[in-house]
């Protein structure tokens, strides 16, 4: 890697080529982050000039019923979605990391949801989950079971987790496949010569070598879990634009763009960002610990 370090005049060119991206990052990303932080201390209806509100937007959050419900929904969702997505996509990647006939077909099939329109996919699942003429309930009743109300409040959490995990397996699979293919083949050859069994090769070579991918995937999936919106909204929306399973992003959207409460929405966005940051920091520490051991 050291040989690829830019030298002399090249360094300037690196800067020149990075400038557009850096400006975009500075103004676009950081600009909007700081704007959100600023707005969270103001009352702003988007129409009239903002007025200072101190920390009242944050103080009001515990009493905001929609926000608290969204918070719990999001936490419960993340608690199921993150481990399931990571584990299932790891197994799919392990299964597809070999030369079997039709492997590219399966890779494409698992990746397809990632590149499909969330709206179309959401509508498709609405139809699968439908109570009376849904595919799933048809199958259950055909086998003599009782139909399930898949999107009723008590079951909706699991139903949307299934859809979201299904939609995320492809992305995770790609990351794990890349990680798997970066593991030098010699390791396995040496281990085989030493008489290591296949589970030992998995446990002592594959999994430790995949630690960086796993870490990356956990961070990514956690961020996605806290930002989950599209499938859940499409599956649980009500006729008047509400949702029976509101998530944090839905609550932010509704406060900002429906209730004229940009300040409250910004405060919620800041809370969401802080939660994601704390979790990411925890992952970083865990990785350091594991990395030191490996």
């Amino acid at each position: 890697m050291g040989a690829l370090r830019p030298m002399g005049i090249e360094r300037w060119w690196v800067l020149v080529f990075l400038t557009p991206t850096l400006i975009g990052l500075l103004l676009g990303t950081f600009g909007s982050i700081f704007a959100t932080l600023g707005i969270s201390f103001m009352d702003w209806d988007l129409l009239t000039p903002p007025t200072a509100a101190g920390i009242s937007n944050y103080q009001g959050l515990p009493d905001d019923r929609l926000f608290m419900r969204s918070l719990w929904n999001t936490l419960a969702f993340a608690g199921l979605y993150v481990p399931l997505t990571v584990i299932i996509s790891l197994f799919v990647a392990l299964g597809l990391n070999r030369t079997i006939p039709g492997v590219s077909f399966f890779r494409v099939a698992f990746f397809l949801p990632t590149v499909s329109s969330p709206t179309a996919v959401g509508l498709l699942w609405t139809w699968i989950y439908a109570q009376d003429n849904g595919v799933l309930n048809e199958m259950i009743t055909a086998m003599g079971g009782d139909p399930v109300r898949w999107l009723s409040r008590s079951v909706a959490l699991y139903s949307v987790v299934i859809v979201n995990v299904w939609g995320a397996i492809g992305g995770g699979m790609i990351i794990f496949l890349a990680g798997l293919q970066a593991i030098p083949k010699d390791y396995y050859e040496v281990a085989e010569m030493d008489g290591a069994k296949s589970w030992q090769r998995l446990w002592f070579i594959t999994l430790p070598a995949l630690a960086p991918s796993m870490f990356f995937q956990c961070v990514l999936v956690t961020i996605n879990a806290f930002q989950a919106f599209d499938y859940i909204y499409i599956l649980t929306r009500t006729g008047n634009g509400n949702s029976t399973m509101p998530t944090l992003v839905f609550s932010i959207y509704r406060n900002g763009f429906r209730f004229f409460r940009m300040g409250d929405a910004a405060a919620q966005a800041v809370v969401l960002t802080c939660m994601i940051m704390v979790l990411t920091l925890i992952y970083f520490r865990l990785q350091k610990k594991w990395g030191a051991q490996a």
Binding site: D45, L46, L47, T48, R65, L66, T126, W127, Y129, A130, Q131, D132, N133, G134, T141, P147, R149, W150, L151, S152, R153, R237, T238, G239, N240, G241, N242, T244, R254, F257, R258, F259, F260
Partner: protein, 416 residues
């Protein structure tokens, strides 16, 4: 906008034209088809006013309100934009709407011949900050094939809500023997009040909020009785399909041919015109306190910061005139605000569907507007979110009504 004007001015001068052109923008929610008709209306307006260019911007309902807020926040709102009466006073309270009163005072005859109930929606103690564009009244739609198959008589104008409830139960049928219905009596909105709950409550002598919109009034004895009626239909009889079922039929189970009746305004006529079954309309049923339906008049408002208020006024005059209203009537989605047009072939003999279009006009006799106040959307969320828990049987009705009152009043207080 300013740059466009300057640019067109420069162009006009350089091409030697004598007229200075003004650009104004009209934004509204609707379908691409409506956009097409409005482009025709714009062309007719420009023909009469060669010095004005009218830009039409159409978006779907949700994107429309988002775009509008973002445009305002960015300092470039459209000059004229569409408004819905329940949200009107909220927008007005934020001082962003142009007061049209000075122009109306100069030409008061512009309002002559417009249905008063549509004008009242935009009247405030400070004057008019908007004008009606068209109106909707809610009627009862029924599927003749479903009524015939069940041997049920069609709804009549003598129907009470109890007649509707009994017919709905008789039309709720399990065809495939799995002991779950696959046909229901009535498709009705159980989340927003416009088409079903507001008319029902009011015909029971109750209402959603007090007259001055200071209090939520859904837990009075009359309101409780009305909600009990809805609960009996939706939960006990199961004659109103639930939210999931409605979603699985593309949000319109009536059009999907699986409900005998629905309650809607005229906006649905062009869609239903292509339905593969026979259907007709009847007046909304009566309650213990008489017959009440909802009237809602979408309208036009202007941004207080528009640089061309005189041109905006010319546009408003044109689109509320006989000529403008006749052009708009061909869309077939709404009812014209002028009696001269609503009672003319332009509306009554439109080629959407051969039904009694006059019934929507006659309904004005017993129609009432939805409440309008600052924080309407927030109040509506407290209302719909809580009712959802009642319809899914997670919460008692009485508990639900109590909670709507508490959270509804919170929303009202927060927006005072």
């Amino acid at each position: 906008m300013k740059h466009l004007t300057t640019l067109s001015l420069v162009l006009a001068l350089s091409s030697g034209a004598a007229l200075a052109e003004t650009d104004i923008t009209f934004a509204f929610w609707g379908t691409p088809e409506e956009g097409k008709v409005w482009n025709e209306i714009a062309a007719a307006f420009e023909a009469e006013n060669p010095d004005i260019t009218l830009n039409i911007e159409v978006s779907d309902w949700n994107s429309y309100w988002e775009k509008l807020r973002v445009n305002f926040a960015g300092g470039s709102p459209p000059d004229v934009f569409a408004m819905s009466p329940p949200l009107y006073l909220d927008w007005k309270s934020r001082d962003v709407l142009l007061n049209l009163q000075p122009w109306i005072d100069a030409e008061p005859e512009v309002l002559d011949g417009i249905y008063p109930v549509t004008l009242e929606a935009y009247e405030t103690p400070d004057g008019y900050f908007g004008l009606p564009r068209d109106f909707q009244t809610i009627v009862l739609y029924y599927n003749k094939d479903i009524f015939d198959a069940a041997g049920q008589p069609y709804p009549t104008e003598d129907w009470t809500w109890n007649d509707l409830k009994e017919a709905a139960l008789a039309l709720t049928i399990d065809n495939d023997g799995d002991s779950r219905p696959d046909q229901w009596g009535l498709a009705a909105d159980l989340y927003g009040p416009e088409s079903f709950m507001a008319p029902l409550l009011r015909s029971y002598g109750a209402d959603l909020v007090s007259a001055d919109a200071s209090e939520t009034t859904v837990d009075t004895p009359e309101a409780t009785e009305a909600f009990q009626f809805i609960y009996d239909m939706a939960v006990v009889d199961g004659s109103i399909p639930d939210q999931q079922t409605v979603a699985s039929f593309g949000w319109d189970p009536f059009l999907a041919g699986v409900t005998g009746m629905t309650l809607k305004g005229h906006w649905t006529v062009p869609d239903y015109a292509a339905a593969p079954f026979g259907w007709n309309i009847a007046p909304i049923p009566q309650g213990p306190d008489g017959r009440v339906t909802t009237v809602n008049s979408a309208g036009f408002v202007a941004a207080s910061t528009t640089e061309h208020p005189d041109e905006v006024w010319k546009f408003l005059k044109f689109v509320t005139s006989d000529a403008g209203q006749s052009l708009a009537a061909q869309i077939g989605l709404a009812v014209p605000i002028r009696e001269s047009v609503a009672m003319s072939p332009a509306y009554l003999e439109q080629d959407t569907a051969a039904i009694d279009h006059q019934m929507f006009v006659d309904a004005l006799d017993y129609a009432r507007r939805l409440p309008s106040f600052r924080g309407f959307d927030e109040w509506g969320a407290a209302f719909g979110d809580t009712l959802d828990r009642v319809w899914t049987d997670e919460m008692d009705l009485s508990e639900g009504l109590e909670e709507i009152t508490i959270y509804g009043n919170d929303a009202l207080d927060k927006n005072r």
